[in-house]
Symmetry: C2
Subunit: 500 residues, 2 copies
């Protein structure tokens, strides 16, 4: 994949040499001869990669890198420091300000091209995600800003494949400093076993295993959907560069050469952890956007759109079951007067508490939805009619028996709900008809004086009957899926303060 | 990037040879020696690419390819046909059943590796999108199923960069058959100009331009964000294979060799059009998911979540403007009784018509939101107070003056709305306070007898005053942004049928 590379060096022949090499491989090259010019080009020219000389008069490479990485819009652009310095301290300093790699002058062509290709690929993948994040931001769905350099670098799970005890111990010890959990194994087979049962943030793979070729393992990780984007850091000998280049080609993210230097090791692993977490965050923004499409923002319950999609499935499943589907529709009594008397803020508080109580009194696989306004519906899959009656009454009491805390004088309002229910058998019903049946009963409950439950073919439920019998009716299994007893006891202990 | 490659050939030595070559480059290789086995492995092993022999006993390669491509779950897996046949007809037949390319035996290593690498990259990019589409499907947000092979292959916009008249004419003529629009230019500079002002579905680039290197153009296209994923088909001479391989490496999608064969040309371009449109569809599923998060499913208006994000911005902008922000809150009068008397279906119809009328009577940059239930709000940026009063009355009349068509006896219901408004100056107000101020006036409008508008610091508006003066008040500019006159005339001609 081609890419736009920004070459920065204050010595023109150095710029020209790199430009020629990259251009020959059909990269789009732009150049800068000072730190200041580099920052301007990063801003205006959208490079995919920056090759950055360290020693420059005025603003040096460290400073340039540090400024690029502190700009949330640009921090994801990979930076490779190019230097005649071989001091480990300088290398680590560069990595710590966010550089993705170091290349030593004179530049080895294999190392250069392998590195540029690999970083170009990472950059393109990130760009896709950032594009998506931008459109999510535009919609205002996800407003949290992501910034690569602000990702935490500690507490990652690392899987190390290394059979040399000396280096293994050194790695485990060095990385533990950042509170990482490092698990180490001797061979690829064992690594694949662990990967199948656990999640890791990073893999480190030795290219000098005694019994096998570490690159084979890298290739295998890349070919599996589960591990395709797992960052891989290769561990190699100084004279392994051609194989390292091959590894980058296969899709490894980075490498470190022996003898391992503790600080370099830590810095490189931190870079990978940061990139991994950044990408994860971009992904989860997407998941959040989706889930927001299906939930009610005030109560956090599912919305009508979700109900329509899933009720259809539940009705279809129900056709093949010998149990029934319970549909319980609820409407807060005289809710309009709450809004009119106390304002919308109080109304919203009441809706939130109402939603909370519904959730607490249903099983985890029951579906609770705010249809809109003060109307709610609960769908109970695989339920027997008697159980649906109990649940309806249980929900009604959960509202009526305990005043709702909200911002009014006295701190509480008495609220009640009317409940209408229907039992659906044998599938095949259109959604609208099913909801209509429960709605009709809800209407009857309103006419029967509110704060009561009416079921199709059953009529108004006797509150006392269901309150008394409930405890003995539940079999053990159902009981376990419900909230703990004390909540229930609380509810029945409080006064019955129903308001019309 | 490594990938899992399925090699299919009935002759074992052929399988072994390809396996060795690919394995040496660290691809994960799986094999099959019959068409049936190939289909099973495609199903169970998730290959990223299939290398498929054409001549096999039993089920031949064409049939295998055709079956892979007719399976919506597998159609996106690239298939390369491998054959000793050199007949153009066979080649075209393969492309037409959905093969992505043809390789001739004996296989040229450069061509093989370049092709496999390029297809692996395309596959990975598609996988990312499909993953996302799957999660959208799980949520039930987007239920439409996408299938690569069902994308239309006609009517694409193609930009051809070719300076040889003979081939240029041949391409234009051949591709016009599929109703494509082909624009052709002689050089890269002219191509970049066109691209900056127009959108194309595909680029075709000659690698044998007299004045420049076509690969340089390909590289440039890949380095620009706008054209990064635009499919490129290279046109090359038979002995150009090393440069073609380089082009695939840079990111071109496909190539065709001279002398150009009409049917092959058409088939290859169709494949690219299909892939482009498939990817576009996956992208737009994502955009749809996002927009669903911000709209009300019943009316299509924006929802409260959107209002919260954008009102904040509008208030902030307003701080720097010398105009004001109008906030108009509306509530359908006695809506509960519509639901109770006629059912929810009728209630929903009323809400939909109501929303439609609001939209038709506001400027395109005004913001109309359904807050929930029967409550709506319109935000008017950059508006003078008098204009806000007019608009409020205009909206009120748009509801009251014309009965709402819905499924009741007689076909219409008389509906009215109460309106509360506030004018926000100088920014800096919290959203909740702004909405609260309009809400308070709405409450006053209800108490003043409904079907009227009350504004903060202004009181109840005189309907006759605003109806008469409206026409003369509007300046030309504002007028243009409003719906055509006849709509307005209709509204005032009908009876005033307000119900309480």
């Amino acid at each position: 994949m081609s890419a736009r590379v920004l070459v920065v060096d204050d010595i023109l022949p150095n710029v020209k040499l790199l430009e020629a090499k990259l251009s020959c491989e059909y990269y789009d090259v732009i150049t800068a001869t000072s730190g200041q010019e580099a920052l301007e080009k990063v801003e205006t020219e959208n490079p995919d990669i920056v090759l950055l000389d360290v020693m420059m008069p005025g603003m040096d490479g460290f400073e340039v890198c540090s400024r690029i990485k502190s700009n949330p819009e640009k921090a994801h652009i990979p930076v490779v420091m190019v230097t005649a310095l071989t001091d480990v301290e300088d290398k680590v300093r560069g990595l710590e300000v966010g550089a993705d790699d170091f290349l030593s002058k004179p530049i080895d062509d294999i190392a250069l091209m392998a590195r540029v290709r690999s970083l170009a690929r990472l950059k393109m993948a990130l760009d896709e995600w950032r594009l998506r994040e931008n459109s999510a931001n535009q919609f205002g769905v996800v407003t949290e800003k992501t910034n690569l350099m602000q990702e935490p670098v500690e507490g990652a799970r690392i899987l190390l494949v290394e059979d040399k005890d000396f280096d293994k111990n050194k790695i485990v010890q060095s990385l533990s400093q950042d509170l990482n959990i490092v698990m180490s194994v001797d061979n690829g087979m064992r690594a694949m076993e662990l990967i199948s049962s656990q999640d890791f943030d990073i893999m480190m793979v030795s290219l000098n295993l005694r019994e096998e070729d570490g690159l084979r393992l890298c290739s295998h990780l890349r070919s599996n959907e589960k591990t395709r984007s797992l960052p891989i850091v290769m561990i190699a000998e100084q004279d392994d560069m051609p194989r390292v280049a091959h590894g980058l080609e296969i899709g490894a993210h980075d490498y470190i050469l022996r003898p391992l230097e503790k600080n370099e090791l830590i810095a490189r692993v931190r870079t990978q952890i940061r990139r991994k977490r950044f990408q994860q965050r971009l992904r989860s923004s997407y998941e959040i956007s989706l889930s927001m499409a299906l939930t009610d923002s005030l109560t956090g319950l599912y919305n009508r759109r979700y109900l329509e999609v899933h009720l259809e499935k539940l009705i279809a499943n129900n056709a093949h079951s010998n149990k029934a589907l319970g549909v319980i529709m609820m409407d807060i009594d005289h809710f309009k007067s709450v809004n009119d008397t106390h304002g919308h803020k109080v109304g919203d508080e009441v809706l939130q508490v109402f939603a909370e109580r519904l959730k607490n009194n249903l099983r985890s696989f029951d579906l609770v939805v705010r249809l809109g306004g003060e109307e709610f519906v609960a769908i109970l899959p695989d339920v027997m009619p008697e159980r649906a009656y109990f649940v309806a009454e249980r929900l009604r009491r959960a509202i009526a028996d305990e005043p709702v805390p909200c911002s009014v004088e006295g701190g509480f309002l008495n609220v009640t709900t009317s409940v209408g229910g229907a039992i659906i058998n044998n599938g095949g019903h259109p959604i609208a008809a099913v909801l209509e049946r429960a709605d009709k009963c809800l209407y009857e409950a309103k006419h029967a004086g509110r704060n009561c439950s009416v079921f199709e073919n059953k009529g108004k439920l006797d509150p006392e009957q269901y309150q008394e019998q409930e405890r003995s009716f539940f079999d053990k299994e159902v009981e376990d899926a419900l909230p703990p007893d004390d909540e229930d006891t609380n509810a029945t202990q409080t006064q019955n303060g129903a308001s019309s």
